[in-house]
Structure formats: structure tokens, C-alpha cells
């Protein structure tokens, strides 16, 4: 994988890892940490522009770049926005999860965000089932989701986006 594309991904993994700590402790994430996601997202946009201009050897027009950016970002925001709306409607999903997924979606596009939410939720369902079977938790108990989103993101980077 191109190192220029890998740097924003690594930054995003670090940001998600940092957000996982308060999430595991209190199942809440400070808002300023969510703003930290702007760093990898901006880095991703810059590296994307650099890679397109170097690898493609083509003249990147402003319209072309903005169009491509809006297409990737717009579609990538769909899973995160859907998760936020689902959380607002049902009250069973936290707002921060949707925001983190939106951040990942902006970087990785629609399929990336979809894969991350699929694997994140699949991984979360294992401890949820185990804890419920052991009667350690009730149905309404909240479980931290951001660490699992991080795990899903790692699966996406190393196994699926190749």
C-alpha cells in the first residue's frame, strides 16, 4: 500500500484507539476527541490529491477533484448518518458511534464504512451474547462500541481493502 495513503489511516487508527479509552471506561467520548478525527480526514484529502497528481500523471482540475471528493465523501457518509438516525430513533445506539463511522466513511468511502460497521457489530455481538448468557448484563445495558469499530477498521485495512 502507498505510504501516503497509509499515514492518514494510521492516524485514524490512533484517534479511534484514543477514543476507545474513555468509551470503555464511561461509554462516553469527549466531544473534542471527535473533533480530533478532522486531522486524519484532512490528511486523507491531502494525500489523495498528492497520489492522484503523482501516480496518475494527469492534470488534476479543481472541479474534477472536488467532484471526486464529494462523490466519495457523500456516499461514505451514508452508513454513519444512518447509524446516527437509528440511534436518535431507537435510543439504543450512541451518537459518537455514528460520528466515528461517518469519519471513517469520509476516508474509506461507502463500502469501507459498510464493512467497518458490519465487522464492528459482528465482533460486538460475541461479547454481548456471552455476557447475556452469563447473566452479567441486561438487554438495556450499554456496551462500548468504538473499540469494536476500531477492530472493524483494522480488518478493513488489512484484509478487505486490498
Amino acid at each position: 500500500m502507498d505510504i501516503k495513503l497509509l499515514i492518514p489511516k494510521a492516524l485514524m487508527v490512533l484517534t479511534v484507539a484514543a477514543m476507545s479509552v474513555p468509551d470503555i471506561r464511561r461509554k462516553k467520548v469527549p466531544v473534542y476527541m471527535l473533533f480530533l478525527m478532522l486531522i486524519p480526514v484532512t490528511a486523507s484529502i491531502i494525500s489523495d490529491l498528492v497520489v492522484i497528481s503523482i501516480r496518475g500523471g494527469e492534470q488534476v482540475t479543481t472541479e474534477g477533484f472536488i467532484g471526486r471528493l464529494l462523490a466519495v465523501m457523500g456516499l461514505g457518509l451514508i452508513p454513519g448518518t444512518a447509524l446516527i438516525l437509528l440511534g436518535r430513533v431507537t435510543g439504543k445506539i450512541g451518537l459518537a458511534d455514528g460520528i466515528v463511522l461517518s469519519g471513517i466513511g469520509v476516508m474509506e468511502g461507502f463500502m469501507g464504512a459498510l464493512s467497518v460497521i458490519c465487522f464492528g457489530s459482528l465482533l460486538l455481538s460475541i461479547p454481548a451474547a456471552v455476557l447475556l448468557a452469563a447473566k452479567k448484563v441486561k438487554k438495556q445495558t450499554g456496551l462500548p462500541f468504538i473499540p469494536f469499530l476500531g477492530a472493524g477498521y483494522l480488518i478493513w485495512i488489512f484484509l478487505l481493502s486490498r
Binding site: 474513555p22 461509554k27 460486538l124 455481538s125 454481548a128 451474547a129 478487505l160
Partner: protein, 169 residues
């Protein structure tokens, strides 16, 4: 420049807002239901894509074959060429995620045939390590005979006669 108490309060509240927290949790109930529901939705969508693309491929093969059979005064080799040309000229952007293979056409003993296959890569294919078969495939095989002019005229007359007979009765 004087800073009023209100402004200090405003500044303080915006910093407080940054320190505020947003929930990052899934309830156990949601954690158990969500992957199942999401999996079912994805499966339905991909089965829909597969069925749609397969139908479209069969339809395109049939259209190209009928059009190629309708050509008059051409040699068998030319007819095969026309068939492939007609097939390739059909608008392909309607396909959703379909990867078509090269179409094969042949002509023998008055029968013109076209064979086409395609595949749809399903999501999360990077996780399939054991056999590498990360696709759903489909094949369309259509055959048609070139109708001679005389056969066409006789058949038309026969059908026309039957219709007239029905009307007289």
C-alpha cells in the same frame, strides 16, 4: 478592550461544550440484532443485484441473437461477426457490479449460438481464504435457427389461413 462577564460566560460555555461527552455505546439488545439485520439486508441487496444482472445478460444475448438472425444475405462467418458486434453495441452501463466475460458466438448447421458468462463479486471477499471463489457466476446460452424466406412465407400463410378460418366459423 473590555471583556464583559457575558462574553467570559459565553467563552466558558463553548469550552464546556467541547468537554461534554457523546454516548459511544450499543445496548446488548442492539448488539445482538444489528449484525443479523444488516447481514440479511446486504444479502437481499446482493441477491437482487445478481438476479438483475443475470436477467439483463440473458436479455442482451437474446436481443443480439434475434437481430443477427434477421440479417439477410450474409455468410455464416459474417453472421457470427454481426452477432458479436450487436452484442457489444448494447448499452452495458445498466449492469450493477457485473463483471462480464468475453462473449463467444458460433454457427453450425444453420444454428447460430451465443454464450456469455459473468460474475458478481460479493462484499467482504478478502475474508475468503480457503478456495478463492469469491464470486457468484451465471451463464447464458442462446441458440437460434436462421429462417429461410420460403419457410417464413408458408408459416405466415398457414397462420393467416387459421385466423381467417376462425373468423369464418
Amino acid at each position: 478592550m473590555d471583556i464583559s462577564t457575558e462574553q467570559i460566560k459565553d467563552g466558558g460555555s463553548s469550552i464546556r461544550k467541547l468537554r461534554e461527552t457523546a454516548g459511544g455505546y450499543f445496548t446488548v439488545e442492539a448488539a445482538l440484532l444489528f449484525p443479523f439485520v444488516l447481514g440479511v439486508i446486504l444479502l437481499v441487496i446482493y441477491l437482487w443485484f445478481y438476479s438483475y444482472d443475470r436477467c439483463l445478460m440473458e436479455q442482451d444475448c437474446a436481443i443480439a441473437l434475434v437481430e443477427a438472425l434477421g440479417e439477410r444475405g450474409v455468410s455464416p462467418e459474417e453472421r457470427v461477426g454481426i452477432l458479436l458486434e450487436k452484442y457489444e453495441s448494447i448499452y452495458k452501463d445498466e449492469y450493477v457490479g457485473w463483471i462480464p466475460q468475453a462473449a463467444e458466438a458460433s454457427y453450425s448447421k444453420g444454428v447460430l449460438s451465443i454464450k456469455q458468462s459473468g460474475k458478481l463479486r460479493f462484499p467482504f471477499r478478502g475474508l475468503i481464504f480457503w478456495n478463492g471463489k469469491d464470486v457468484w457466476t451465471a451463464e447464458a446460452n442462446y441458440k437460434g435457427s436462421v429462417i429461410k424466406k420460403m419457410f417464413g412465407i408458408r408459416t405466415y400463410r398457414k397462420i393467416n389461413g387459421l385466423i381467417q378460418g376462425d373468423r369464418n366459423d
